[in-house]
């Protein structure tokens, strides 16, 4: 049974690999919306950024997992069972017709698990998308205004200015924030446990415990402390590796930029 524990490490890495680009995409959309000159859209973008700030992220995790699930089921219900007349919320129950259940009651176990994981990925992406939107929005505002004015003077349209001038330059300003975000994302992955995924926290608790009904082959005392120590070391390692990687990326992006970091690189090479 221990291979499930090792497998769950890959679950964490998979979550990171999917969530990071998706959240960045959400963030980009959010930042674009916040920059928009069309008031409802910019308010939507700014509201999206602001609300995540004031509320603990864990509350969002708990909320979205149920809310998304119900939203999907409700939509399917409306499409698949139009003749259904009973109200969906009956007292303390949420009832949709059998065909609208997600995943279907007859689906095999792995579909249930994949669906749960899928919900978790979307939830993470929504929450971290808001964080990323804030960082990217700040990055876009940090690009020197003269650059944009020059582009306009050359007769570029707003769209051209955005894609050709603003976007290539904003990354170096956004990177410190984004790398911070990456660290926070790594440190948020154990929250998968709260979303009902059998992740490393779940397995550490199960395998480390004693008197376990599931696993009687390896009787041992309470080793949960050691299992969690191992997880602690795992995360510390991840953090350290990311720090080194991000440092390299920053060096590369600073190359030839008109920032103090870029200036430092220039001096290093000329000296």
């Amino acid at each position: 049974m221990h291979w499930l524990f090792y497998l769950s490490f890959f679950k964490v890495l998979l979550l990171l690999a999917i969530t990071a680009p998706v959240a960045l995409g959400f963030g980009f959309l959010g930042a674009m919306a916040a920059r928009s000159h069309f008031p409802p859209l910019s308010m939507l973008g700014k509201g999206y950024i602001a609300i995540v700030r004031g509320v603990p992220d864990i509350a969002f995790f708990m909320f979205f997992v149920i809310a998304l699930d119900q939203a999907f089921e409700w939509t399917r219900h409306q499409i698949l069972c139009p003749e259904w007349t009973d109200p969906i919320r009956q007292g303390n129950d949420f009832i949709v017709c059998q065909a609208a259940k997600l995943p279907l009651g007859s689906a095999p176990e792995w579909v249930h698990e994949t669906y749960g994981f899928f919900l978790a990925v979307i939830t993470f992406s929504i929450v971290f998308g808001a964080f990323a939107a804030n960082v990217l929005f700040g990055g876009m505002r940090a690009v020197p205004h003269a650059q944009l004015e020059t582009a306009e003077a050359y007769g570029m349209t707003r769209r051209q200015t955005f894609w050709r001038i603003l976007v290539p330059q904003m990354w170096v300003y956004a990177l410190p924030g984004l790398s911070n975000l990456w660290m926070v994302l790594i440190k948020a992955t154990p929250l998968l446990f709260l979303l009902g995924i059998e992740d490393i926290v779940y397995w550490a608790r199960e395998l480390g415990g004693y008197k376990n009904p599931k696993f009687t082959q390896y009787p041992h005392g309470d080793w949960r402390m050691w299992y969690f120590l191992a997880l602690l070391v795992f995360y510390l390692g991840m953090t350290r590796v990311s720090e080194i990687g991000l440092e390299r990326l920053m060096r590369r992006l600073s190359h030839g930029q008109a920032t103090s970091g870029g200036e430092l690189l220039r001096k290093e090479t000329t000296a």
């Binding site: 700030r53 603990p56 864990i58 708990m62 149920i66 303390n92 700040g138 550490a204």
Partner: protein, 268 residues
């Protein structure tokens, strides 16, 4: 049952005063508001206590990390890396099981496994590490002239620290520290969702919100209530820290006085 009655019954439920049984069905809006609000007592308790104690350790850590003595610098660096580099969630789990095994060898350490002390210790170390890093950053950006001026006046050691370095460090670090305080309050919601058990259903705000969401299968009421309370708490924290910021900057001419930026960071 009137709302006033509900508040009397459940207003202090989270610390064990009032009705013993939680409402089981037909939840009213008032009940949800009261119980989740009652749970906020724990969040505020953890937040304030951790901030108050963590502040001093953070100052020590920052001084340690900035020290030229290897024996002071290395432990401080490692402490900060350990607590900033790993998830708080895992720290809670590890600490709980660590305390649990301590308890078996030394029964008098019994209270460590209860949330009010055990979780507080973890939060204390955690916020001290984050704040220590903030203070360290501020310490390094103290204007050179300030310290030279202190030297010129013949100030050394404690006097120089107390009157020049420390106030300037606080002044520079304050906006970032405000941010950390907000995140600490948010982090307190993790306490009862990690290993620490909820004793007699005396939980924090998220615990009660989760309770209602579980029972009604309707997340659209309890979680927005929780959000409402936390936004309120965030505003209070910003206001309180803003007052202190004003006090710290009171010697500056009004034009130079840095207005604390309301656009704070999103992530820790």
């Amino acid at each position: 049952m009137s709302c006033l009655q509900t508040i009397q019954d459940y207003g202090l439920r989270s610390i064990g005063i009032g009705e013993r049984l939680l409402p089981r069905n037909d939840f009213t809006l008032c009940e949800q508001f009261t119980l989740i609000g009652s749970g906020m007592i724990w969040n505020i308790y953890f937040g304030i206590m951790a901030l108050a104690t963590g502040f001093f350790l953070a100052t020590a850590l920052a001084m340690g990390k900035a020290s030229t003595n290897k024996w002071l610098r290395k432990p401080a660096e490692w402490f900060i890396f350990l607590f900033r580099g790993s998830p708080l969630f895992i720290q809670f789990f590890f600490a709980y099981f660590f305390f649990l095994s301590l308890k078996q060898s030394y029964p008098f350490l019994d209270t460590l496994t209860s949330a009010w002390l055990g979780a507080l210790i973890v939060l204390f170390f955690n916020t001290a590490a984050y704040t220590g890093e903030i203070f360290y950053g501020a310490l390094r950006s103290i204007p050179k002239g300030d310290i030279e001026a202190a030297d010129a006046y013949g100030m050394t050691g404690w006097a120089r620290f107390r009157r020049i370095i420390w106030p300037t460090m606080l002044r520079l670090a304050w906006p970032a520290y405000t941010n950390e305080a907000i995140f600490l309050f948010h982090a307190t919601t993790l306490v009862f969702f990690s290993a620490f058990p909820v004793w007699q259903q005396r939980g924090d705000a998220l615990y009660y919100a989760g309770y209602f969401a579980d029972k009604t299968f309707n997340p659209f009421i309890p979680y927005p209530i929780l959000a409402f309370y936390f936004i309120l708490l965030t505003l209070v924290v910003i206001w309180g820290f803003g007052r202190v910021n004003k006090h710290l900057n009171r010697h500056l001419p009004a034009s130079k006085r840095s207005k604390m930026k309301l656009r704070l960071n999103l992530a820790r």
